[in-house]
């Protein structure tokens, strides 16, 4: 244990529109992990939902044209929900004289899947069943922050500044589009933003300044998600990002950044495909050129938001600063921020590998906290039932 390497399974890919981004994120994470402390086991979920492991998965060059899936050292694997396995079952359907399933005990799970089936609590639910420490938000926080509508409701309830919104379901939009449009027009002046409730990386998001474009924009969003949210556009906005890491009372906040590529808003390509290194090379100012009081205020809001959504591990919170009113709004929470926000933590005093160490620490502390709650609570119910029969009648 203490003298041994910690086995960390990094899980990436996934059945999500952000599959490719996830591969990049996972490679960055694996590269940053100190190999004198961690033994890295890559777990790749292909686009069709098949799970694989094997050393070739640690080299991004192998992912071109899905070549990696044909590599002989890439073999099927599953994460077992049976607590006794405490990790991965390699080649679970293997049978034969010299082939049998093998267990890799995992000490910490590191999910590196963006969006659906990764950042939304589903994967975390599996981790909880397996009873293995894992990095990042738990089931509730993941599911919550993955949904923009619910996140804003919770933040609003906590007294934190968020923009007003109008939201509706796909079926409402299909059956009564005019009512929906009327609600939007009644609430907001154009321009507005139309956003699918749960998708990340700006997919399906449109800025609508022209009434004629409102319908097609909502159609796009409603095709991508079951629920759609419309909120007013902020005047002369400045985007400010801030990262928070921690667990329980041990929480810390990073310096602020101001991304400069902000024009109307970032498209998917802006975020990930501008230049070879993606967002890392995008122009940004760190720390953001704000006065001391504003910086403090944003950092305070970031910490409060982290607590409000039951945060743990890491998050990047995106704020919008309205130029005309000087108001601050919390715009979005990313529980698996691109590049893990390394660029925000380095100037805050944590190197990439130190940040990873911190995240591992929080994962294990969070798991220890879970162990503090009893799950094996025995009652006399079964004894009674056995004695009296299930219907409560005497035998």
């Amino acid at each position: 244990m203490s003298s041994r390497l910690l086995t960390v399974a990094v899980i990436f890919g996934g059945r999500s529109v952000e599959h490719d981004v996830s591969i990049v994120t996972a490679q960055q994470i694996m590269k940053a992990m100190d190999r004198t402390r961690y033994q890295v086991v890559p777990v790749y979920i292909a686009r069709d939902g098949k799970w694989f492991t094997g050393d070739p998965l640690t080299d991004i060059a192998n992912f071109k044209d899905d070549a990696v899936l044909r590599h002989k050292d890439v073999i099927p694997v599953i994460l077992s929900p049976d607590v006794r396995h405490h990790g991965l079952l390699v080649d679970p359907l293997a049978r034969g004289l010299f082939r049998r399933p093998q267990v890799i005990r995992v000490d910490v799970l590191f999910p590196a899947i963006h969006g659906t089936h990764g950042e939304d609590g589903t994967l975390q639910g599996l981790f909880e069943l397996a009873d293995i420490p894992y990095v990042g938000f738990a089931t509730l926080g993941s599911a919550l922050t993955n949904d923009k509508i619910m996140t804003k409701q919770v933040l609003r309830q906590a007294g934190l500044p968020v923009l007003d919104d109008v939201w509706f379901s796909r079926s409402q939009w299909q059956h009564t589009p005019d009512t929906v449009l009327a609600r939007i027009h009644e609430a907001f002046e154009l321009p507005v933003f139309v956003k699918p409730a749960t998708l990340g990386s700006s997919i399906g998001v449109s800025r609508v300044a022209d009434t004629a474009l409102l319908r097609p924009s909502i159609d796009v969003a409603a095709n991508l998600d079951r629920r759609v949210m419309v909120e007013p556009a902020v005047n002369t906005p400045t985007e400010i990002n801030c990262s928070v890491i921690g667990f329980g009372d041990d929480v810390r906040v990073s310096v602020l950044e101001q991304p400069l590529t902000y024009t109307d808003f970032l498209t998917y390509e802006d975020k990930y495909l501008a230049g070879s290194k993606g967002m890392k090379s995008a122009d940004r100012i760190i720390p953001a050129p704000l006065d001391e009081a504003k910086t403090r205020e944003i950092q305070r809001l970031a910490l409060e938001a982290f607590r409000a959504v039951d945060g743990r591990g890491i998050v990047r919170i995106d704020f919008l600063l309205e130029g005309s009113t000087d108001r601050i709004y919390i715009n979005e929470l990313n529980t698996l921020p691109g590049s893990l926000s390394f660029y925000l933590w380095r100037p805050s005093g944590l190197s990439e590998s130190q940040l990873i160490d911190q995240l591992m620490h929080y994962a294990r502390e969070a798991h220890a906290e879970k162990r503090r709650s009893l799950t094996d609570y025995r009652t006399s119910l079964l004894t009674l039932a056995a004695a009296r029969g299930i219907k409560g009648t005497k035998k």
Partner: protein
Amino acid sequence: MSTPVIVGSILIAAVWAAAAIQRVYRQARFFQIEEYMNLRYARWVLRERSRALPARPLVALIVSALIAFFSDTVPEGFSLIPFAAMLAAGVAALVPLPEPPVKKAFVRTQRALRLLITAFTLIVLVMIAAVYLSLTVSSSSLVSALSVGVAGAVAFYLAPAWLIAANVLMLPIEETLRRLFIRRARGVLADVHPKVIGITGSYGKTTTKNYLRDILNGRFKAYATPKSYNTMLGVCIALNNDVAQDYSIDYFICEMGAYIRGEIQRICGLTPPDISIVVEVGPQHLERFGSLENIAIAKYEIIKALRPDGLGVFNWDNPYVRQMYERGYPQNRIAVSTQADPHTPLPDGPRFIAHEIQESLTGLRFNVTDTATSTTRTFQTPVVGRHNVLNILLATAVAVHEGMTLDDVARRVAQLQPAESRLVTQTDERGVVVINDAYSANPVGVKSSLAVLGMHSGRRALITPGMVELGDLHYQENFKLGVLATQFATDIILVGPKQTQPIREGVESTAFPRERLQVVTHVSEAIAWYREQLNAGDAVLLLNDLPDTY
């Protein structure tokens, strides 16, 4: 040779063989209690001759032989009477004799079955040989019937010998199976690869083991060997049955017992400990070790088995264990104490000290100071028995070393439960408090058990067969128990007049009223007494529970 003679001989042989088989089967559980040790079992048979080998079949045989002899009128022909007489004697042997109630029944293990089948086969072969010989030697009804009957009786009275013979015969097979079993256990440990915590001591092992498991489970996943499994084979059973393929186990907590020197070393060879705990060195099993020094040497094997970077945890309050601590190996050592002064810690003294210990019927409450960090926490637990403070401290030392805080530990301690039959308090349906302490018969344990009894307000009865396996200290320690009991109990019921003699003398050396002291021969009488005499508000302490061989 006539057919009736053959049939008669075979019938007699069959009935006597069945009787012998039944006898062997009934003896098997005693052989099992003596752990299949030939000499120990043989000694028991000699000591308990009448129980092991009842006289009735012998009497029946003699009577039948006389009848056959005097009624034999046809020297060369077939005569029914000798066969009928011998058959009747065989039936007398076969009809089961009454036995005292069984406390520890025969356990149908694979090994026991192999042993029994071997013994039964031996009996059948011998009886076949007897029939064959008697028929070839003589064709007289009398001689045939008598010789087969006598052979049957011999087979019957050799029941213990068949068991021992079968045991010897099976030895190579059992040894091979044992090796394979151990090899498998070794493989399991290498595969699952948990941290190993070894616990030894003359007593307190099982309790400390369970407490440590329950405390560590507040943060990790710990597995403890079940019950009092503490032999090489017991540890292997735990590994092969429970640990195999359970990769979630962070800690394997292993109780290691010793009856002879080298035994702990052997267990440590299978499960090399990362952490070793020595609970107590005391006179338990003194008769097998010869001296307390030998016991201490045997227990120290668990410390010697540590790698230089391992951790040793010691009970500072026991002089023998303190000496182990002071020998300086390994580098990482923690001592705990319930007696040291927490305010002026010694430079190389105990790190965890319990003080201000209060005991009540609802449990224990005490302060624990970690002198290394100068922090103190109050521990409260529903567990009773003052000696448990030390067991909790030993577990605390390991838990803190592994990264839990004193707060974490205190939270777990608040939920501890007593181990099975170790100072478990229950109230029966009539309102009598029954304190069950059937397993901890040692000089330290009985003192705190009596103290718990003494805290009750009604009639307080002690039912005990005394402490055993104390060797030279048997008389002295049991005498002391007798004296001590008078301070806490209002009634004393001793089970077994012979082995409780020293306790009786202890009791009688005080002013304890004689009419309140009773000596009975069987536990059932004591239980009947308590059902009759005690009422709601009274308490009874059941101290130590003897196996059937005593």
